[in-house]
């Protein structure tokens, strides 16, 4: 009786099923013939002997079944029979089958899609070895423990040199550059996002390039030859995956740079759209810069806990505050795991989404369960017959479960197809700008496994209860008439299911409705500048002929002199653009307003101490040209705009916005007062104008201080690394009509002024604003889609319930009509159950939404989570739709001919 022998026999039986069947047949025939021979030997006629032998032997089927059972094969035959029967059943009722399959496909598909996003972003391993040993060193401003600010270079070196808890410390900052691969690749090369890293970041991450090498310390100084490491995607796109890319020289922002490495596929550092890495190439001057552009990452030493490291950082923060009070007073250091850094912003919304699709699945399963109940009630007779013929209850349940499994398998397969399509649509929206690790959203093995699990779970959910209920009929009444038995408890159960569905659908719709409300308010929240028909694009002048290095200064910093042609060219471009037909006015600024400020410097009012509010924190700094505020429609509150007269030789001036004026002089007229800006070699400037505030983003609540200087008045002598703001200009062109039509003309106008200079980031200001809301929009798309599916499924469920009820009560309705009931009375009768259920569902849904509203609070903008308008609109909308879904089948009740109804048995 060994297990091995049994298993071997089972396998053989499985594989050689048909042969064994034939052998059993042969055995049986031999046996019967042998017995017949024997009987014949006793003198009985041959035919008679054969007949008697067969009779004595009995039905071979019974012991063949025993034979199969002995070999453990019975369940396979049963399964096959069940599957064939299930297929037949489904073909017989195609409406039921299609409805069930589509419902399941929607539910399973939605869950798979949501899980694929969740998996790619939250569950998947980070692409570094031992990622839980990597931490980000964040700096919190005073009194703002949740703000994650970057690090100055000073602080970075302090952390690197003075910490004991870290094995490696590195830093990175985000940059953009245009990469021109071949000589003909120059015009219109769109800038890509990259990171400038300090070489010591590489051992922190612990990932080696798949081609070539990473940087070394020798590449860090400003004099080192320029090198770049590419992302896998960029390598595939621009170099066609050519391994000979290593050593090729490309032009980044016009500078010759050698490609030295390619990173593995899927490698990313904190942002999905970073495509290249370059060494930091800092010069000495940057050490004292107060700009917090660095993100500092560190790898803990083996055996050191995060708490120990955090304690050490707290001590370091205190000493930094003492040593460099102007940049560090009141600031704290907080260590954040790299996983948290990736996911903190999106964790809650994604988990919420997963909860939403789980609810959608419940609704779908409730629908299918209702369908099964309705169908099973019709099959009572069949089951009663089978029980009478000797089928066990478990056999019936097994049959029903098999049918359900077939349904859910087909539904699951369709759901996968739906999820895959949904994934493609979602990725086409380019979610990589706001969703970290989004480039991993695919249908991989884990997601498939999840889909299988969800399919199995939903089978159990919708099939178990109906199967059990249905297989427990009392035989007599069912066999006699199909209408009486089982319908009442079935209907009640279905009714409860429908109420639940309405409640859940309402919950989801209210959530979506609140988000839509927020979106509308955000969109209506007009930016403070007039963005109609404004086109923006960037012009970058190449470093080469615009800057002359002039050696080093006393402090050992590299110094340089900018050519006065720089501002001249920018002015010429502006003039040339303004005479293009169709252009109303042109403005230029180093960085556009109504977007987060890219450059910040400290500003101090002359005569006031450094400790004054506006004097310590860097404020948004904008070198602009003349007509800037006029073009953008920003009111000048006092004084004037810059003009062409504000040249380098003229008195040095500045313009402040109202918030900065308030901060520096609180209420006193700032015109005529002097300020200093902490910019290299910047002179004392006189304030000549005050302009209205412009919020940096749509959702920004506090107003930020801004200072404006004429681009032409930027000092020519400079030092350090702040070169890009000097050589970049963003043009804002207001046109009479659709600005996109003028792009080609504007582009050639620019190249007329300065030879073949491409323009970058061409888009309308409206597009730019819309991009800021991209994450909201895409999330809302998903949530709205799922809530819509839930509502649709619920309406189908309501319809099905009432339609079924009408079908069941055809006879009764006929009788009532014959007895003189008015159509209204019949309608009331049929609708009563439906309306009650809908009312209960709405009530439950509203209560649930009120209770659960707190979860949404973080995601809403200026909309209360219990906003009565949204609640009322959504509830009424769903109620109306549900009532309509009741009404349609109810109307058919009116069309029942009483005579036909009475005759129906």
């Amino acid at each position: 009786m060994s297990m091995l022998a049994r298993f071997r026999s089972f396998l053989t039986a499985l594989v050689r099923r048909r042969r064994l069947e034939r052998e059993m047949d042969e055995e049986w025939r031999f046996h019967v013939e042998a017995h017949a021979d024997r009987l014949a030997g006793e003198g009985i006629a041959h035919d008679e002997a054969l007949r008697r032998a067969r009779r004595e032997f009995g039905d071979p089927l019974r012991w063949k079944e025993c034979g199969r059972e002995a070999r453990g094969l019975m369940w396979i035959y049963d399964l096959r029979a069940d599957l064939q029967y299930a297929a037949r059943q489904l073909r017989r009722s195609p409406v039921f089958a299609t409805t069930a399959i589509v419902t399941l496909a929607l539910g399973i598909g939605a869950n798979t899609l949501a899980f694929s996003i969740l998996h790619a972003v939250l569950v998947r391993d980070l692409p570094y070895p031992d990622p839980d040993r990597i931490v980000l060193v964040r700096f919190n401003p005073p009194n703002a423990p949740n703000v994650r600010a970057g690090s100055t270079l000073q602080n970075y070196f302090a952390v690197r040199d003075r910490s004991q808890a870290f094995e490696f410390v590195g830093s990175l900052s985000f940059v953009t550059a245009s990469i021109a691969v071949g000589p003909d690749d120059q015009i219109g090369a769109e800038p890509v996002y990259g990171q400038r890293i300090h070489a010591t970041l590489s051992p922190v991450l612990g990932v080696q390039p798949v081609l070539g090498t990473w940087f070394t310390d020798a590449d860090d100084p400003a004099t080192a030859p320029r090198k770049v490491v590419l992302s896998h995607r960029l390598w595939r796109q621009r170099f066609d995956g050519d391994p000979g890319a290593i050593g090729r020289v490309v032009r980044m922002d016009g500078q010759e740079t050698t490609v030295v490495g390619v990173m593995p596929e899927g490698f990313e550092v904190l942002a999905s759209d970073v495509q290249f890495w370059t060494p930091s190439r800092w010069s000495q001057a940057t050490m004292a810069s107060p700009s917090r552009m660095l993100v500092v990452a560190a790898r803990l030493k083996p055996g050191v806990t995060v708490q120990t490291a955090q304690a050490e950082m707290d001590v370091l923060a205190a000493s930094l505050a003492r040593e460099f009070p102007d940049t560090n007073k009141g600031w704290r250091i907080r260590l954040e795991s790299v996983y948290d850094a990736y996911t903190w912003q999106v964790r809650t919304p994604l988990l919420m989404l997963q909860g939403v699709v789980a609810l959608v699945l419940f609704i779908a399963c409730a629908n299918v369960a209702g369908l099964l109940l309705a169908q099973a009630a019709a099959r009572q007779r069949e089951f009663a017959m089978r029980t009478a013929l000797g089928s066990s209850r478990s056999r019936l349940v097994r049959q029903l479960l098999t049918e359900s499994l077939v349904l859910s398998s087909i539904g699951g397969a369709c759901g996968l197809a739906l999820a895959s399509a949904g994934m493609r649509m979602f990725m086409a929206q380019n979610p990589m700008t706001w969703l970290p690790r989004a480039n991993g959203i695919t249908l991989d093995s884990r997601v498939l496994a999840f889909a299988v699990v969800v399919t199995a779970a939903s089978t159990i959910l919708f099939a178990l209860l109906p199967s059990l209920m249905v297989s427990r009929p009392s035989l007599m009444p069912a066999a006699k008439s199909p209408n009486i038995c089982g319908s009442v408890p079935h209907q009640r159960l279905r009714g409860m299911l429908v109420s639940g569905q309405v409640a859940v659908a309402l919950l989801l719709l209210i959530a979506a409705g609140l988000l839509v409300n927020s979106m509308i308010r955000l969109n209506l929240n007009r930016p403070d500048i007039d963005t109609t028909n404004v086109l923006t694009f960037q012009v970058r002048l190449p470093l080469g002929d615009m800057v002359t290095p002039t050696g080093r200064d006393a402090g050992g910093f590299f110094t340089m002199k900018f050519s006065p042609r720089v501002s001249l060219i920018f002015e010429q471009i502006q003039e040339r653009l303004s005479i293009v037909p169709g252009v109303r006015s042109v403005a230029a600024s180093v960085a556009p307003l109504a977007a987060p400020a890219q450059f910040r410097h400290r500003v101090a009012a002359s005569g006031q101490s450094e400790a004054a509010d506006g004097g310590t924190e860097p404020v948004g700094w904008y070198p602009i040209t003349s007509d800037h505020f006029k073009t953008l429609g920003i009111p000048v509150r006092r004084g004037r705009e810059f003009t062409k007269a504000d040249s380098l030789a003229a008195p040095q001036v500045a313009i402040v916005n109202e918030t900065l004026a308030r901060r520096l002089w609180s209420g006193v007229d700032p015109i005529g007062r002097d300020i200093t800006i902490d910019f290299v070699n910047d002179p004392i400037r006189r304030v000549v104008g005050v302009v209205a505030d412009v919020r940096e983003t749509n959702t920004q609540r506090e107003l930020a201080p801004h200072v404006f200087v004429p681009q032409a008045q930027l000092p020519l002598a400079s030092r350090g690394w702040f070169q890009s703001p000097r050589l970049t200009m963003t043009y804002l062109v207001r046109t009479e009509t659709d600005p996109m039509r003028l792009v080609a003309t504007l582009r050639s106008a620019v190249t007329e002024v300065y030879r073949s200079q491409p323009i970058y980031f061409v888009r309308t200001m409206d597009e730019m604003m819309a991009d800021q809301l991209a994450s909201w929009r895409q999330y809302l798309m998903l949530l709205g889609a799922f809530a819509g599916i839930a509502a649709l499924l619920t309406l189908v469920g309501v319809y099905g319930l009432v339609a079924y009820g009408v079908g069941q009560r055809t006879q009764e309705i006929g009788v009532r009509r014959a007895l003189g009931a008015t159509p209204g009375a019949v309608l009331r009768l049929v609708l009563r159950q439906g309306v009650t259920l809908i009312a209960i569902g709405i009530g439950l849904g509203v209560t649930g939404s009120l209770a659960a509203s707190r979860i949404l609070r973080g995601l809403l903008w200026e909309v209360s989570p219990t906003d009565p308008v949204t609640f009322a609109l959504v509830a009424l909308g769903l109620a109306a739709a549900a009532l309509f879904a009741c009404y349609v089948p109810a109307r058919r009740a009116l069309e029942i001919d009483p005579i036909v109804a009475l005759r129906t048995e």
Partner: protein, 112 residues
């Protein structure tokens, strides 16, 4: 004696014993048991093959196709090593059991 109801285990034992005397096909097992028991035991035809298959599935018997006495194809069963061992075990058990039951059944009133 008419065909009596046999317990499943007993039928297995009889079959094993019958086959231990030489390989047999199914009908042959039936005949041999009848023959050896001097017509006192008649196996129900319906319960024979299930038992044969069960024993084969458990690895106590092996089967192969061969030629019967009247030149027809028949499936012959023979004991495997495990089957022989099992037969010995069951025989020993049967001996002990019948002894014990015999003792009980032959108890006279004085022995109590």
């Amino acid at each position: 004696m008419a065909a009596t109801e046999l317990l499943q285990g007993t039928l297995d034992l009889l079959i094993l014993k019958a086959i231990s005397l030489g390989p047999l096909h199914g009908y042959g097992v039936l005949l041999r048991i009848q023959q050896i028991s001097r017509d006192k035991l008649q196996i129900q035809q319906g319960s024979l093959y299930p038992a044969l298959y069960r024993l084969e599935h458990q690895g106590l018997m092996a089967s192969e196709w061969g030629e019967s006495e009247n030149k027809r194809r028949a499936k012959y069963y023979r004991l495997t090593g495990a089957g022989k061992r099992r037969l010995q075990q069951e025989l020993a058990y049967w001996q002990r059991l019948s002894e014990a039951i015999g003792l009980v059944l032959s108890a006279a009133s004085e022995d109590v």
